[in-house]
Amino acid sequence: MTQPVLSVRGLTVDLPKNGDRPHAVSGISFDIHPNEIVCVVGESGSGKSVTAFTAMGLLPKALKPSGGQMLFEGQDLLKMSRREHTRLRGKRMAMVFQEPMTALNPCFTVGDQIEEIFKAHTRLARSERKARTMALLEEVRLPDPPRVYSSFPHQLSGGQRQRIVIAIALAMDPTLLIADEPTTALDVTTQAQILSMFKTLKSSHSAGILFVTHDFDVVAEIADRVVVMQKGLVVEQGTADEVLNDPQHPYTRQLIAAVPRKREDAPEPLSDEVALRVQGLKKTYHVAGTLTRKARTVHALHPTDFTVRKGETLGIVGESGSGKTTLVRCLIRLLDPDDGAIWIGSRNFAQGSRASLRAARKDIQIVFQDPYGSLNPRRSIGEQLIGAPMNFGVSRSVAWGRAKRLMKIVRLEEEALYRYPSQFSGGQRQRICIARALMVEPKILIADEAVSALDVSVQKEVLLLLADIKRNMGLTILFITHDLRVAAQICDNLIVMSKGRIVERGTVAEVFGNPQQPYTRQLLSAMPGRKWEAPDVA
């Protein structure tokens, strides 16, 4: 067996005093060998990112390693001076981050930012630096390297920016590559490309790769070995095959059971009553021209038709830029559509002034993606819940009674009504947001990426809750998501959108089993972990 690139021995990192626990990670051990991808898996707060940042010496000042060793090529990183660690960074060890949109300095060109690493670690001449940079841009398969070289970050897409961050990481051919959720913020097709790039890099650069992720399907796609973390402890580790197909620890089993999967049970028959009919809905944006650029018209939404029957859960799936957000905004009239009709019962929601729509708004409610930003931090939950029904003339006591009932339905305690948003976790907040949307007893609930920001186990809970509420209250749900797996788990029917058009529609079984359009097929084949059938461990 070869010498490990990184050997973590009993690492403990302290949290600041008065935290909810004394250590961010406590006594963890694992090895990373050359030519190997080790996935560290866990939910938020498990300490997986802290481990990655400790290796890079990029921990926030408040966190201090207090015990154990981190041996990198035989040297203990924890005993190293800051200057020595700086010299290793970028040269022998490199890192790829989660958020490609903010990882690059907006004020410098891509070329400058890549060349900077050669300036810091080598004595290459200017022309050589440029040649090496161009070669890197080729290697990470960016189109038109000369153009990318002189571009600024804001001119590139998220996937392209992530490739640049990877190019920077690869520049000095490091022996240890650390990737912290590098594909979480990307579309599924881009994710597939980046993941396959990591697999290639493993062999072509013979580096050891520490890959931090929360997604078991990604693990199944690329991992050689897996380390499962929970609350700062390593609860299980082994080869990918062992951990994925024969998980031992209850927490690993719980995580694997929460991986969204296609429903096996037959869908319930739907009623014939139409809850929502969208006809020829259309939206274009006009971008004004400048001296150097012509004015453009962006067709965010081509004329779109669909119907949703009462009690149906319709999934609207698409990547970023597919028009799903524009569709949602038009549906609730945060945007005014250019043309078309939105029939809810006998009322056309697409027409009429915003003021005249007020009364109709209670029929269609929405739960947004970000549970942290969508509640007012300064008002108690109760106050925020009763506001909406009271706007529609419900008395305070009736509204309060309804709020109490809904708390029970979303499985929170009544006391929650007297507390403030900061006292709840992300999953709890999202349940509060669902309760808030249900306060006015809507006919239609739109869930706009409502579970995308949540950990898998929490995600599963919220999905089950939505399914329950739908069944008990006869609700109609529009479920907007970029994640095909989640859509497959909760929806009756699916609409696949691309570039402002509906490209495919059908039942979940039809879309997954027999996709008609090349785009749908491409989307399905980009899903990570398709070869892995999650074992039934529940």
Partner: protein
């Protein structure tokens, strides 16, 4: 191009406003004639100065001349306003530029140092300096400077504008007064920049600490600073009245202040217009500098 058009429009609007408001503020003829003048004398002066014509006509004429650099004659000095201003403007400009230098020399290092160690002693000390600067009336600070450096130590002249040395104390007094908001802006911008993802990326590249701070963070933190600098420069041009008075500098602010008390309308109007044009030009310049600093603005 749009920006430049807008800037021109602002200049015209300012001139219109200045002209009408000043003419509404009192009867110039009475002021010129003095307290013992008879009604006939006042009427004669009014005729002489053309004050009996409609306001719009007078404004049009004044603006047309002003664009060509002719601001009419001063009612008090009986000489062309343009000459008066040409004599005073360099003094005010020298003072403003030096004060700007003092301000930047103080606020940039203090702001950066404070941001590197938030809530440390350095940060507190920088904050104290800032609070003092804002709390102290600047004429009083100016007097202290004179007492200490001119009268006690004798190393700087107390008043006048003969040499550059005469401008040192006034520039310190004026610059220090503008330092606090600038320092806060830099501190806040640096704290924000230093905690951003791209700084983490730069560190991960193995770039040394100082280079990260000065190349990657400061470049981003300085973008809002440019706009504030432009505004502050405008303030220094127009608002240096007090400092110019204390140090006896024959500057534009001093001239404006004297002319207001003498109801010398042509001079006041001219000074107002010139300061406003400077202001607009500075803000425009700041926009261009920002576009050069920040590629995201450039493509908009």
């Amino acid at each position: 191009m749009q920006r430049i058009g807008l800037a021109l429009l602002v200049c015209v609007a300012v001139s219109l406003l200045a002209f009408t408001l000043l003419n509404a503020s009192g009867d110039v003829a009475i002021a010129v004639a003095g307290e013992e003048a008879t009604a006939a004398q006042i009427e004669a002066i009014r005729e002489d100065l053309g004050l009996n014509r409609p306001l719009a006509v007078r404004y049009g004429e004044w603006l047309a001349n002003a664009v060509q650099g002719d601001f009419g004659n001063s009612l008090f000095f009986r000489q062309p306003v343009a000459e008066l201003i040409a004599y005073r403007l360099p003094n005010t400009m020298t003072l403003a530029v030096m004060a700007l230098g003092v301000m930047l020399a103080l606020s940039v290092p203090l702001g950066v140092a404070a941001a590197l160690r938030p809530n440390s002693i350095i940060d507190r000390a920088a904050m104290l300096i800032a609070v003092l600067g804002q709390a102290m009336p600047n004429f009083w600070f100016a007097l202290i400077l004179i007492v200490v450096f001119s009268l006690t130590l004798g190393i700087a002249p107390p008043s006048g504008s003969a040499t550059l040395g005469h401008f040192v104390l006034p520039a310190i007094a004026l610059g220090y007064y503008s330092t606090p908001p600038m320092m806060r802006l830099i501190r806040q911008g640096m704290i924000e920049a230093l905690s951003s993802d791209y700084i983490r990326t730069a560190r991960a590249k193995g770039i040394s600490g100082w280079k990260v701070v000065f190349k990657h963070a400061l470049r981003n933190a300085v973008i809002p600073v440019v706009s504030l600098t432009a505004v502050q420069f405008g303030n220094m041009l127009g608002g240096s009245v007090v400092i110019e008075t204390v140090f006896g500098i024959q500057g534009l602010g001093f001239l404006a202040w004297e002319s207001i008390s003498r109801m010398d309308l042509p001079v006041v109007q001219a000074v107002l217009l010139i300061v406003a044009v400077f202001y607009v030009v500075m803000v425009l310049l700041a926009d261009f500098i920002n576009a050069w600093l920040d590629p995201r603005i450039r493509t908009q």
